[in-house]
């Protein structure tokens, strides 16, 4: 019987090792799988490459993972936050590498990686610093820059509901990178607010089909990152 349910966040991330490449969902706090990230902080693994739109807020979630020196490189579109100095400090000290990618190019690189497309051409960033050193090609008289697909060992995402097959539905704008990161990783781990019986999710409305998801962890009442940040919380 297929059953992708895992009892705890700790168990779900137990085989993430030093040097792994990990996609982490979320746009700001919306969709950020904070309990899974904290389980990864607890594991103490190091040398991670993290692919994520942002670099975290305050001293919790992704910012905590970076603050504890566990991340050696981020692939990211917007590594600035009004509430966190964690990434900027490590970056200025040369303790973390940054690959800056336009947001839509980041999304398409992840989608391509998950769809078996090794590279593609995009009009985004042509003629800018972010296209320097990259192959360009002209189609129909317009220039495009080549970008590579991205794959990862693991993805950590947050969804709203799941069933034992790993089918996922999301909540509002918390969907953001979740569906494509599940596609682009060898092991996609979803924390969800509720696990329901197979058949309860309308097959017409499933956003991520279970084939893209390997593990599901129920976290009924996830921490709200903005409240932790407001209260000055640090993890652990």
């Amino acid at each position: 019987m297929i059953d992708k349910r895992i009892h705890s966040a700790a168990e779900a991330v137990a085989d993430i090792r030093d040097g792994a490449t990990v996609m982490i969902g979320g746009f700001g706090e919306a969709g950020s799988p904070i309990e899974l990230i904290h389980a990864l902080v607890d594991r103490g693994v190091r040398g991670l490459t993290v692919i994520s739109n942002n670099t975290g807020s305050g001293h919790v979630g992704l910012a905590a993972l970076i603050e504890h020196g566990q991340v050696s490189k981020v692939i990211c579109s917007y590594p600035r936050s009004a509430t966190s100095t964690v990434f900027p400090e490590r970056y200025r000290n040369g303790e973390i590498e940054l690959e800056l990618v336009p947001q839509g190019t980041l999304a398409e690189r992840i989608r391509a990686g998950g769809a078996g497309v090794p590279a593609f051409y995009t009009p985004t960033a042509v003629g800018t610093l972010l296209a320097e050193g990259k192959e360009t090609r002209s189609f129909g008289g317009r220039d495009f820059v080549m970008e590579y697909g991205l794959e990862a060992d693991f993805a950590l995402v947050r969804a709203d509901r799941a069933d034992r097959y790993g089918n996922l539905v999301y909540s509002k704008t918390a969907r953001n990178f979740g569906p494509i990161m599940c596609m682009a990783s060898r092991v996609a781990i979803a924390q969800v607010r509720e696990v329901v019986q197979a058949g309860e999710l309308d097959p017409e409305a499933i956003v991520t089909p279970g084939i893209f998801v390997q593990r599901v962890v129920e976290v009924r009442t996830p921490a709200q990152e903005s409240i932790l940040v407001r209260d000055g919380a640090r993890y652990p």
Partner: protein, 234 residues
């Protein structure tokens, strides 16, 4: 869909020419009824509150929603329903959520009609610089701006005419790193509405109390006087 009520302006410093709400209103009135529009962070956010009665614009936020509605009161703010500036929003009846690859397919694939963005500099050839300065030690961050200018049909800049220290933002050639090359179609500032054409900057309208000479003094590139009718966007 009905649109958001005006949010109070954060700053109310003495201001030459049009106010920020007047600037946003000019933009809102120039966008064709039925357009799909992405609004950038800052002054562009004000455009949503000034859609003319009887017009319907559908607002897109690149983190995954078409049909952005007005901000909720604090009691109804939902951390999972935010805009690209990470502020709480609402979703109007008829709205749709989608993931990031679909969101940027809308942008890059030319499905959105109008993008309204802020700027650090705009050149007379339509180059835009709005993502980083040359400051040493700055943390580079780009977000979705390069995708928007590369893919949306019409790109509008809505910004103050000069920087806080009085430097022109409209220039012959950008000195900051570019967001896109030859991408800007029109600029709305507190002083003027200016099209970017093959002949450089063409002035379409000037704010009350401002002369063409005043405008020229505050602009870092030649201006062509083309006052009169301007086209509806896109």
């Amino acid at each position: 869909m009905t649109q958001a009520p005006a949010r109070p302006c954060a700053e109310s410093a003495p201001h030459l020419g049009w106010s920020r709400d007047e600037m946003a209103q000019l933009v809102a009135c120039d966008i064709a009824d039925g357009s799909y529009v992405n609004l950038g962070i800052g002054i562009p956010e004000l455009v949503a509150a000034h859609v003319p009665r009887g017009h319907e614009l559908v607002f897109h936020t690149e983190n995954g929603l078409l049909g952005v509605g007005p901000p909720p009161d604090d009691a109804h703010a939902d951390p999972e329903l935010i805009n690209a500036g990470k502020k709480p929003i609402t979703a109007l009846p008829g709205a749709a959520y989608f993931h990031h690859a679909d969101s940027f397919a809308m942008i890059r694939g030319g499905h959105l009609d109008v993008s309204v963005l802020g700027a650090m500099q705009v050149s007379m050839r339509g180059d835009l610089a709005n993502w980083m300065t040359n400051e040493k030690d700055a943390i580079p961050a780009v977000g979705g701006a390069m995708d928007l200018v590369a893919g949306v049909k019409t790109v509008i800049v809505l910004t103050e005419h000069t920087t806080k220290t009085g430097e022109p933002k409209l220039v012959e050639s950008c000195t900051y790193p570019l967001t896109g090359v030859g991408v800007v179609d029109r600029v709305y500032t507190n002083l003027a509405v200016i099209d970017v054409t093959a002949n450089g900057f063409v002035v379409r309208a000037i704010a009350p109390g401002i002369t063409f000479e005043d405008l020229a003094r505050k602009t870092g590139a030649p201006l062509v006087d083309g006052r009169g009718e301007r086209s509806i966007l896109p």
